[in-house]
Symmetry: C2
Subunit: 450 residues, 2 copies
């Protein structure tokens, strides 16, 4: 077992880093549950025909094979899921009779993509998705709801840099292009989507060459894409471009409702903007679309994306419209952890190390540890009855803030704060560390890094 090189694209965390991730996941879960979202997990594998419904992703799928597949049949055609949307749609169809609609769920699982690894792209990574799905219909106000819930969830991650949730609406841009008289609305969308990669003039030219627009129409499309507002003033600015279309009106009203509905959740760390560039490429969204940037780390791309599907799933008879957002937990955290932007102050849950006076008296230390645990204090007992100096260094190396020295022969127990060096007798029936020391603390290191 000498070969233990890391596998590119399969990130692994050290214990203190994993604690940060656990804190993130715990805060997300709490927010989602506070809003009535139930947790779900789906199996990691899906039949290949389900996974390949979107042709784009076929290259990225990992296919499974049993090592000694004499009886290949049963496993043939299974692959690892590459997102949580396709499995969720399948789950809804499979269990529809046992679910209540509209159905809210959150799902936090690993997904796998056989991609070429690069910064921020992984072959195995964790996503946290929320979706609301209806049967036949799903009221628009759920678009506002998922935006509000994700904004509250991001707002709870106060040890991370701030977030900008960017919202747009497919109806708005499609209605605008149609109202403008574009001969091929889809083609216009495809070209405008290149604005983050190509210079403006190049896009302007492509709008004429590939999408068949006049120069004036191309001007209008670029003017639309340039609109970004933190309030509903985008409506007036779009109106000033003089385009009229029923679908545009609908999109403007919906986008305004999302921005307005989220206004109460905006803080100095978390903001929402109407950003009329956002189109979510070739994904099959039909209304609201979301992307999210992390302040100061925009090169990570969108770390939280989603939108409204008119048909998240269908079995031919019944259609299930949905709206959801997916947070790329690994995409967000792995780079921040690698750069020590966010850190935990110890590598173990223990707040106290219980010293052992001599090996024959380990049971006494075990009993003191159990007493601490009964009071809600995570702790561990020293592995060896070494000199106290060595036991203190054992705690120090793990970041454990307190060492408890058992009182021998009727003497009082003593607790040492190894950061200050202060030591004092304690009554273990009531003593607990200050609440801020009870669990590892996660803090932003952003200032020190800059």
């Amino acid at each position: 077992m000498a070969r233990t090189a890391p596998l590119s694209g399969f990130p692994e965390l050290l214990p203190a880093q994993r604690h940060v991730e656990q804190q993130v996941l715990a805060r997300l879960a709490r927010t989602f549950e506070m809003h009535g979202f139930a947790n779900l997990e789906t199996r990691a594998v899906e039949p290949l025909d389900q996974l390949l419904r979107k042709g784009e992703t076929s290259k990225e799928v990992y296919v499974l094979r049993r090592l000694q597949a004499a009886e290949e049949g049963a496993d043939a055609g299974l692959g690892l899921h590459f997102d949580l949307t396709v499995p969720f749609a399948r789950y809804v169809l499979e269990h529809a009779g046992k679910l209540e609609f509209p159905f809210r769920r959150y799902q936090v699982q690993k997904v796998w993509r056989g991609e070429r690894p690069q910064e921020g792209r992984f072959r195995e990574f964790t996503q946290a998705d929320i979706d609301v799905i209806g049967r036949d219909t799903l009221a628009f106000h759920h678009d506002v709801e998922v935006a509000r819930v994700m904004l509250a969830a991001l707002g709870s991650l106060d040890f991370l840099p701030g977030f900008r949730l960017q919202v747009n609406n497919r109806k708005l841009i499609q209605g605008f292009y149609a109202g403008l008289g574009a001969p091929d609305v889809e083609a216009v969308m495809r070209v405008v989507d290149k604005l983050d990669k190509l210079p403006r003039e190049r896009v302007h030219a492509l709008l004429q060459d590939d999408a068949g627009l006049t120069g004036e129409q191309a001007d209008a499309c670029l003017a639309l894409a340039a609109i970004t507002t933190t309030d509903t003033s985008f409506v007036q600015r779009v109106r000033e471009l003089g385009v009229e279309h029923e679908l545009l009106d609908e999109g403007l009203a919906e986008l305004a409702a999302v921005v307005e509905g989220c206004a109460g959740l905006v803080t100095d760390r978390v903001e929402i903007v109407a950003d009329l560039t956002i189109a979510r490429g070739l994904d099959y969204y039909t209304g609201t679309v979301f992307e999210t940037r992390l302040h100061g780390h925009e090169s990570l791309g969108s770390i939280c994306s989603g939108g409204r599907y008119d048909a998240l799933a269908t079995d031919g008879r019944t259609t299930y419209p949905g709206v959801g957002i997916s947070l790329g937990v690994s995409r967000l955290l792995v780079p921040l952890l690698a750069r020590d932007v966010v850190v935990a102050d110890r590598s173990v849950p223990s707040a106290v190390l219980v010293a052992v006076v001599e090996e024959q008296r380990r049971a006494e230390s075990d009993a003191l540890a159990d007493q601490l645990r009964a009071n809600g204090v995570p702790c561990e007992v020293a592995p060896a009855a070494a000199k106290f100096g060595k036991q203190i260094r054992h705690a120090e190396r793990r970041g454990i803030p307190y060492v408890l020295f058992p009182g021998t022969d009727g003497a009082e127990h003593q607790v040492k704060d190894i950061r200050s060096g202060d030591q004092a007798p304690v009554d273990l029936t009531s003593w607990t560390p200050p609440v801020e020391d009870l669990h590892p603390r996660v803090r932003s290191n952003e200032q020190e890094q800059q």
Copy 2:
């Protein structure tokens, strides 16, 4: 997407069932962290040569292949992990320089085995492992520690049937066989291990035919295997068999220490027994071995097993001894959930449904919901401003116990307990549901099922 048949061996849970699993995992995690175990996750894939070090498992491994593997190289030879021990050993070797030893960790992840599905055997399932690993040496008291921690963890699952933790020690049985003069100690162990499948007389015959024992020696082996005690009286009973060996003495002392060290954790639900049949088959344990049965569900087999390895990992220069136990979370829960032995009383986290008076006033209901959330009350807003009777039924179907009716035009808000039908005005600045209604409750259904 019409084909949505379940995949045999890949169990999936409904939301209320998943809540039970989440409760189990939360209680396990809390107990493990209270004892200083840090959480870890390893990637789901390992190089095949790591996975195949134990020849027995080769048939069970799922190998990965990229669907369109033009550049096969990078992914060739990867498989899904089939347990959490092999990946943990690899993780320790890979990150040894950044870990502090003895290193305690718990790990809760899915594992995959390409087995033929059968009752209690899955192709994808969740395990929860705890291990303590040392560098070069690991004191014996950690064997007692992991037994204590797992016993405390199982004890916390008070909505499940009781558990019997069965402990034995390889040194004890190997020393006994050696002291008896067995020509091939391993052969004796292999035969005795068949006691749960073959009748006693057949094993007696095999001990003579396959393991080269005399009839008297075979009698002694079966007498040893028959010993099961809930205290340390097994020591006397083994001594009465008149066999002497240094390794036997060591094993007896260790096993007695485990049983004695756990005595304080025994309750009417959770017990520990010295069971001298347990050998853990062909696994590479070198001292303490553990198995666990669930009261009333013994046909599930051992749902929590483990033991001491003298070399959990080695890189040639350094050896890492370890001791651990692995709880088969799916193996334990999936059958109990399928039989409704344990249930959650609602399918959503929401304790309150906030009714909507009319669609134009949804924002008022949203604001009331946020007020409840600020007081720690999970809630959701009704999806439509239907008649109140319909909104109440919406809550009822999900098991949400309370409906909040917003007071209109200065009237007081009213809360209805839909179980009792009681309705009363409330002051939302202070009202919360009784604490037992705040989150879905998990309860045993065992009585009703029998």
